[in-house]
């Protein structure tokens, strides 16, 4: 299938869904469903980023949006990879909390940079059997626009973001490499990673400042 027919398929699916009414449920992620999910989530996120509310309020809202839109548990476990089973149950639990906090703080520390951000859907394509890849173009004032792909999977019957890809670079793969390197270089122990994550969160919180 070439790109143009994929694009027309992406455009046709929502229309067909509207015409035919309820389609039988499928295990694989439907492109139209994935892109409208990304569009709705993105609109919510952009509105929060651009609002004039205090940082703490915006961070809380962003946290709520991310918890709902991202498969935090799945992504977190994917990134810890083979070290998940090395970690004690207490470490696993703390890792998950720190991972979620890192995700939120990474965004909230950049609220200033994201003032005036807009986004639009680009082409959309089915990438694997189960996941859909939704392309978006992110635009910030006076900066060159850039393209991001959102990998959307079905988790517990709901569409959820499972990865973000910039120019062929998957965020979860890169982060798995990063975390694994920290653990490997500390004698295969998970605790030093958790220490580093705590420090990073503190640094991000300090940057967020006010």
């Amino acid at each position: 299938m070439n790109r143009r027919s994929l694009l027309s398929a992406a455009l046709a699916v929502p229309a067909a869904t509207a015409l035919l009414g309820a389609l039988p449920a499928r295990a694989e992620m439907d492109i139209g469903r994935a892109s409208s999910f990304i569009e709705a989530t993105g609109r919510e996120l952009v509105a929060t980023l651009n609002s004039n509310q205090p940082i703490a309020v915006r961070r809380q809202k962003v946290a709520d949006i991310l918890r709902q839109a991202v498969d935090v548990d799945g992504v977190g476990r994917f990134i810890l990879g083979r070290w998940w089973r090395v970690a004690t149950p207490a470490e696993q639990q703390e890792y998950m909390q720190l991972f979620e906090e890192t995700l939120i703080r990474n965004l909230s520390a950049r609220f200033g940079e994201y003032q005036g951000v807009t986004f639009s859907l680009g082409r959309s394509q089915q990438r694997t059997e189960d996941d859909a890849l939704v392309n978006t173009v992110i635009q910030r004032p006076s900066l060159a626009p850039f393209s991001l792909d959102w990998r959307v999977g079905e988790v517990g019957g709901q569409p959820r973001v499972v990865d973000v890809i910039a120019e062929g670079t998957s965020l979860r793969l890169t982060q798995r490499s990063e975390y694994s390197a920290v653990i490997s270089r500390n004698g295969g122990k998970v605790a030093p990673l958790l220490d580093a994550m705590r420090q990073q969160i503190a640094a991000l919180a300090a940057r967020e400042g006010r």
């Binding site: 790109r3 990879g81 083979r82 990474n106 680009g122 082409r123 392309n135 173009v137 060159a144 626009p145 850039f146 393209s147 910039a166 120019e167 062929g168 670079t169 998957s170 793969l173 890169t174 982060q175 490499s177 990063e178 975390y179 694994s180 390197a181 920290v182 270089r185 990673l193 580093a196 994550m197 990073q200 640094a203 991000l204």
Partner: protein, 268 residues
Amino acid sequence: MSLSRRPLFSLALAGLLALSACATRPPASEPEALAEYEFNNDPLEPMNRGLYVVHNGIDTVLLRPAAEFYRFLVPQPVRGGVRNALGNLRSPVIFLNDVLQGDPERAATTLARFLMNSTFGVAGLFDVAKAAGLPGHSEDFGQTLAVWGLGEGPYLFIPVIGPSNPRDLTGFGMGIAADPLTWIIADGDSTAEALGWTRTGLTAADTRESLIEAIDSVNQTSLDPYATLRSAYRQRRAHEIRNGGDNAAPSDALGTGLGAGGSSYAPR
């Protein structure tokens, strides 16, 4: 001078000391560790990490400040023009690689862009071809060798250049050798030589300038920037080799290192 030389010297020494070390291959009894070792493709990791430290030293005292200075000195529309012109000068090498990869359509695009931008685009300063619906792409000998089936070899981190591997490094050399400008400059007078150095200097300044935010962000947010850069470079190269849909700008056609396809976060 002596102030900046001494840390560089000790950094170089640290790098050389690391040269002797090799990463230990995990035993077959640890299949997951072994899989990760092979996935990372970095058997020379201790040496590479030493060279990465050397690179960071050079970057801190020289490359990043030079890039900041370039950004401060040259206003934006002019920097964009410089980037376009540098990309246009890469056209012959990009064209050659389009052909060598058996892609006449992309070769024709590169040729048409070169003709349009060199004339109507005032020596390449304006990307009129892009405005006319012919966006550029990057292509280099490292990618061509990959398309021909050559493996990348072990991951390498080269100071100043950045992430690489034997295949991409070979391709980088081939790119210089195959560039008509290299030979025109070599045969020319002192003016040609000066222009050649200007081009090299501008390429370095433009590349590093375009990466200021990206590299700052990696250094600020990654718990292990070395591992992050390794993963990102290898994924991006794999994506470039299969012409995965994003068009890296022609100015990013260095074929190796931090500048390979790195500066253009352009939409499709």
